[in-house]
């Protein structure tokens, strides 16, 4: 194995690309497995998107299937169920944004005021925990607590009150999935906000206190501006992902609640693509979602720049 020259020393030596490949061959070799996996399982499917413009037949494959142009999309836009799932996606995303987004911020603010290290660490360990539960487990827990045979109804029944099955009610489904998301992810969501809080200069608080600013004024004028960058970043990420509202979560509960209120774009793509072997149709729905999502990320990022923040990326 050749001993490399320390290339970092001041003056750059001009090397041809052959020499650079020879020099870095071990490093390049190390990236090969990951890159290969990504090429197969992430880049190859991009070519598979061609199926959205075909009448894809799995027996003859992408190369020989018949091209139909935008037919799949035309059919999609006339499909009432597609519009239902798009409407559900946007509605659920909106409800989750309004009800979910502020909770980690408030929790982080609250936790930040806990002085005892032990108490803080304990609370943090507990609230991070559900993030590592699977959706199956989370929904099972909700089922046991709020479902038809669950704890809540067990209590209601034993006190002679009428029961109330929250888990199968299409009308309150948005609230149900949001509370599941809050239960599972809100604790995890506080990490970045806590880091932002820890990064605020303590002397600002002391100076403000010396100038007579009370607790709430300090929060308004120092804490919240100090968190602004992170809040905007998280909002951008959320807006960019607005069309991806928890796939597994909906898939698992779809049967209990009914597809008209539980179908989102992802589950639509799954049920009308894979379950019925109508791959082209599902791929078209997926492509529609991807394109809108990219536009959303791009737009949200522009919005962040308009607020004077870095956003997700800057070109």
């Amino acid at each position: 194995m050749s001993v490399q020259q320390p290339q970092d020393a001041g003056h750059p030596v001009r090397l041809t690309w052959r020499m650079r490949i020879r020099r870095d061959r071990t490093l390049l070799l190390m990236t090969v497995p990951s890159i290969a996996l990504l090429l197969v399982f992430n880049y190859a499917p991009l070519f598979g998107l061609a199926t959205a413009f075909q009448d894809y037949d799995p027996l003859i494959g992408v190369w020989h299937s018949q091209w139909v142009g935008l037919d799949q999309f035309r059919q999609l836009f006339q499909d009432a169920q597609f519009w239902d799932s798009l409407k559900n996606t946007i509605y659920l995303s909106f409800v989750q944004l309004i009800l979910f987004f502020p909770i980690p911020i408030v929790l982080a603010l609250l936790l930040n005021t806990v002085l005892s290290i032990q108490v803080r660490n304990f609370i943090q360990s507990v609230v991070y925990l559900p993030h590592f539960f699977s959706w199956v487990l989370t929904i099972t827990i909700f089922q046991q607590m709020l479902g038809g045979a669950g704890l809540l109804n067990q209590f209601l029944r034993s006190h002679g009150m009428s029961t109330w099955d929250i888990m199968t009610n299409p009308h309150t489904f948005a609230l149900l999935v949001t509370s599941q998301a809050v239960w599972k992810e809100a604790g995890w969501g506080i990490i970045v906000f806590l880091a932002a809080l820890a990064g605020i200069n303590r002397e600002l608080y002391e100076a403000a206190a010396a100038d007579g600013a009370g607790r709430w004024r300090r929060m308004w004028h120092i804490t919240l501006p100090g968190m602004r960058g992170v809040i905007v970043l998280m909002l951008v990420l959320r807006l960019g992902n607005a069309l991806s509202v928890g796939f597994e979560q909906f898939l698992i509960q779809r049967d209990a609640v009914g597809h008209s209120s539980a179908d989102v774009l992802d589950t639509f793509s799954f049920y009308y693509g894979i379950a019925t072997n109508n791959y082209s149709y599902g791929a078209a729905a997926g492509l529609f979602k991807s394109v809108i999502s990219l536009l959303l990320i791009w737009g949200a990022n522009k919005l962040a720049h308009a607020f004077g923040e870095d956003g997700l990326y800057r070109t």
Binding site: V3, I35, T113, R120, I123, G199
Partner: protein, 322 residues
């Protein structure tokens, strides 16, 4: 392209935060003492938050250890230990479907995590050395996949075309590489001091040796966190099973059994008595179901305490300068 995925890129920053919170234990002299009402509201809220997580877990745990009598007396889930027994667990572990699925889950998790870590650690190190050949291009190749992907159906078609339907590798390989995790690892490897690496190089160490003996030992915390992220991903995997092996119950991992047995209450074909637990006199079906829930939790609860203190470093280091 400059990508800033998260906020605090340096380990120094995390250390400063740690120091900060330690210094924050005492109330600074200028700060007003808390009001009684404020303290109470805050305390109750935090107790409520902790209870919302812990109480369901407690109830499930107690119910899983309960005798049929205790479950009858409670009319369902048991809140306070009444009659305790380990019979549900014995019963559960005798069930062939549960036993198989436990082995499948453990196997997928162990092999998958090993594959993912090997591949990711190598890739992260390969891209972490400054000015190496094509590292910017390769990094871009990685990052693009975070924003653009073929979506569900084209990915499904690629995997099935490669013969993945009904095969265990279909549960591992398509999700083996997490770009986010590679970027986290890379951020730490980039910070390993250049002098240390140069010194190793002068001693005749090649890149493999440097990765194994210098870089990996200096970044144990982040390795632990990323390993946990991968392991949890494999342990919790459910959708891939639904896609690639929906019918063969002998190959199902635990999460799928949890969904079928517990959530949907269906009897499994491989089960001793089609209708899980219904004919066992010594075990209530409910406690058996809750035992399955606890079983899915045990591995996580064993590992969690060891890794938990490193979460922040792992999560906050997604910063990349492409």
């Amino acid at each position: 392209m400059t990508n800033t995925l998260t906020i605090s890129p340096t380990r120094a920053g995390a250390a400063a935060q740690a120091r900060h919170s330690r210094a924050g234990t005492a109330r600074p002299p200028w700060e007003e003492p808390p009001t009684v009402i404020g303290q109470t509201v805050k305390g109750l809220t935090l107790i409520g938050v902790v209870a919302v997580v812990l109480v369901p877990l407690w109830i499930i745990l107690v119910t899983s250890f309960s005798t049929p009598g205790a479950i009858n007396r409670a009319g369902g889930l048991v809140i306070w230990p009444d009659g305790l027994t380990v019979e549900p667990y014995r019963e559960m572990l005798l069930d062939p479907t549960v036993r198989t699925s436990l082995l499948v889950s453990l196997g997928i998790t162990l092999i998958g995590t090993a594959v993912s870590m090997a591949v990711s650690v190598m890739c992260a190190y390969g891209l972490s050395r400054p000015r190496s050949f094509a590292h910017r291009f390769l990094l871009l190749l990685l990052i693009v996949t975070m924003f653009v992907n073929g979506g569900l159906i084209p990915t499904f078609l690629v995997v099935t075309d490669l013969g993945g339907y009904g095969k265990y590798w279909a549960l591992v390989l398509p999700s083996a590489v997490s770009v986010f995790n590679i970027l986290v690892l890379r951020a730490f490897y980039s910070e390993t001091s250049g002098e240390l690496i140069d010194a190793a190089r002068l001693d005749g160490a090649g890149d493999w040796r440097i990765l194994w003996s210098v870089v990996l030992p200096t970044s144990r915390a982040v390795t632990a966190v990323v390993t946990l992220f991968y392991a949890v991903g494999y342990w919790n995997a459910f959708f891939n099973v639904m896609l690639y092996m929906p019918t063969d119950s002998q190959k199902w991992p635990l999460q799928y059994v949890l969904l079928t047995y517990v959530n949907r209450g269906v009897g499994l074909p491989g089960s001793v008595n089609n209708g899980f637990g219904s004919t066992h006199a010594h075990t209530a079906p409910l406690s058996l179901q809750m035992a399955v829930v606890v079983l899915t939790l045990i591995p996580l609860l064993i590992v969690y305490p060891f890794v938990q203190k490193h979460f922040r470093t792992g999560v906050l280091t997604g910063a990349i300068k492409g």
